[in-house]
């Protein structure tokens, strides 16, 4: 299936990435000539059938990166680098291309707050039907109606709730409705921006499991979907990610395999380690201090002021080697030390 060149590419190397981001930077120009470095020099790929979780503290630039991919940056933003998706560079595409071929068709957005994303005055059925008519070739009232019902079924949204308005749905069902809308266009890339914020743990698990299912399912052309999930919820990331990218102060400081990151040997960047150790089922100790202002970043490593391993070398920006930007990463064998400092949950209160 597919055309000959893609078969060749599959045979020679791994599958061609769905999304390929190179040197992506975003700057906001503020009044008074101030510049805010929201994203700096991001490099990553998302492969078909893969989930990449982009994690980091709030305000580190994660959502700006998502807006850049969708062409939704405000007017005072300048972007550089490239983000290739199916032969198109998302950063240079004009609004017409973004509106007609990218949003919904090449990128399905699973929003942060489904309750705010859905149109409050219309039923779920009406919104699904409109989306089907706009994004697919289905024509005719009966066919559109059937396609909308099928879209709801795909995310296990109960048919009996289709005629409800968003405020009549629980958080979990609203989330499914939003996911159904994101999947209608059969986009090769799903972009989920904090899809689990404010949900309780059971609902988080169910939401991410559903996203995982859509990544594992084959798309119409048999290639599979990629998922870029932006989140500060490390438990959700652990549950579904194949790879993890850790962002700090606008830079990706570590990009690694999820099993190695959450299990053994564990994260190698001191910031990533600090984030994991802050979890209540690990050491439950915060990283001292707060992230720097993106408008006023230090010259060298932005994490150095909070880093227990910082040295004089940190005054220079660390180069990215092997998916890691740090002058003194934790040794790969540091996993044992990391695990042994993790007290049992019950007796750990200070």
């Amino acid at each position: 299936m597919g055309h000959p060149s893609s078969i060749g590419a599959d045979a020679v190397t791994e599958r061609t990435p769905v999304l390929s981001v190179r040197g992506l930077s975003v700057r906001f120009l503020m009044p008074g000539g101030r510049r805010v470095a929201a994203v700096t020099d991001a490099h990553f790929d998302v492969a078909p059938g893969e989930c990449l979780a982009l994690i980091g503290e709030s305000g580190c630039g994660k959502s700006v990166l998502a807006s850049a991919l969708l062409g939704l940056l405000p007017a005072n933003a300048q972007s550089a680098g490239s983000a290739r998706l199916g032969g198109l560079d998302l950063l240079t595409a004009d609004e017409k291309t973004l509106g007609r071929t990218v949003r919904g068709r090449l990128i399905g957005l699973v929003p942060q707050s489904p309750a705010a994303h859905l149109t409050p005055v219309r039923t779920i059925r009406s919104q699904l039907e409109e989306t089907v008519a706009a994004l697919t070739g289905v024509r005719g009232r009966a066919a559109v109606r059937a396609a909308a019902r099928a879209a709801a079924e795909r995310v296990a949204f109960p048919a009996g709730h289709l005629d409800r308005h968003p405020h009549e749905l629980s958080g979990g069902l609203a989330q499914r409705a939003a996911t159904a809308l994101a999947l209608v266009g059969d986009a090769p890339l799903l972009l989920a921006d904090e899809p689990t914020t404010g949900l309780d743990r059971d609902l988080v698990d169910r939401t991410v499991d559903e996203l995982r299912r859509h990544v594992d399912a084959e798309t119409g052309d048999g290639t599979g979907r990629g998922l870029l999930m932006i989140t500060h919820d490390l438990a959700a990331a652990e549950r579904i990610a194949d790879r993890v990218a850790v962002m700090y102060a606008g830079r990706i400081v570590e990009l690694t395999d999820a099993r190695r990151f959450f299990g053994s040997p564990g994260p190698r960047h001191p910031y990533s380690r600090g984030l994991l150790q802050a979890l209540p089922d690990r050491a439950f100790t915060p990283i001292p201090g707060m992230p720097p202002e993106l408008g006023d970043l230090p010259g060298g490593c932005a994490f150095a002021p909070r880093c227990p391993r910082a040295t004089g070398a940190c005054a220079a920006l660390p180069p990215v080697t092997d998916g890691l930007a740090c002058h003194h990463p934790l040794p790969a064998s540091g996993a044992e030390e990391l695990r042994s400092t993790t007290p049992a949950p019950e007796n750990a209160r200070a």
């Binding site: 503290e57 958080g171 069902l173 089922d281 915060p286």
Partner: protein, 238 residues
């Protein structure tokens, strides 16, 4: 007779419509210095119960006792001594912070409201350090800081009158792991220093089990009834 509870809720029924109360027949105690975690799914009514305990919502029936004394008046009508016994931190800092106030004024507001203006400089400086806010952040308004920074200010505001009971309603649900750990550590430092009690309401049992001396589940707090009248917000099918 064991020591008198700091907070006692007896058979509290509360809500926004008498025919369909959000909380039915809930009972719960917090001993002096004790940290109690109240666990329950979204929409079960636990925030309503937290509002009752914080004297912010008058229950339809039942009794609330603070230090053994029944509470008879609520919100601004509650006697100051009872009102200032309790400090509250809510889930969404944006909705619980006046957007016009600088963080320093946000933290100082309870002192001004209770005529302790002269304590403002010392208390604000002390609390800003305790919750990890730097002086430049104190001069900003809510839209100029992150959720995590604003929640730090809201915690400082809740502690400024030295409450003997702190109620945290999903205080960290919007926050990342490191900010969560930092805020919990700030609460625990305060409790260690003052012996204050804590009622932490939430759905994250890993967090509450780690944080609190004792956790109770919503179903046990409201036992004796067949559950609440709300339709379950979480469908049971996976």
């Amino acid at each position: 007779m064991p020591e008198q509870p700091l907070l006692e809720l007896r058979a509290v029924t509360a809500g926004y419509d008498r025919r369909a109360p959000a909380v039915r027949n809930a009972s719960l105690t917090v001993a002096p210095g004790e940290a109690v975690g109240l666990l329950g799914p979204s929409g079960c009514g636990k925030s309503t119960l937290a509002r009752v305990a914080a004297l912010l919502h008058r229950p339809d029936s039942g009794t609330l006792l603070l230090d053994g004394a029944p509470v008879r008046r609520w919100r601004h009508r509650a006697p100051r001594a009872q009102r200032t016994t309790v400090g509250v931190v809510f889930q969404q800092p944006r909705l619980s912070a006046d957007p016009r106030l600088r963080l320093t004024d946000l933290i100082a507001e309870p002192l001004r409201a209770t005529g302790r203006r002269e304590d403002v400089p010392d208390r604000v400086a002390e609390l800003a350090a305790a919750v990890g806010l730097t002086p430049d952040l104190l001069g900003r308004r809510p839209h100029e800081v992150s959720d995590g920074q604003l929640q730090r200010a809201c915690l400082a505001r809740a502690l400024v009158l030295r409450p003997r009971l702190l109620i945290c309603d999903e205080m960290t649900a919007m926050l990342d792991a490191s900010t969560t750990a930092a805020l919990v550590a700030a609460v625990e430092d305060y409790r260690t220093a003052t012996g204050a009690g804590l009622l932490a309401v939430g759905h994250d049992h890993t967090l509450l089990k780690r944080w609190c001396d004792r956790t109770v589940h919503w179903d046990d707090v409201t036992s004796g009834t067949s559950g609440t009248s709300l339709e379950p917000s979480v469908p049971s099918a996976m």
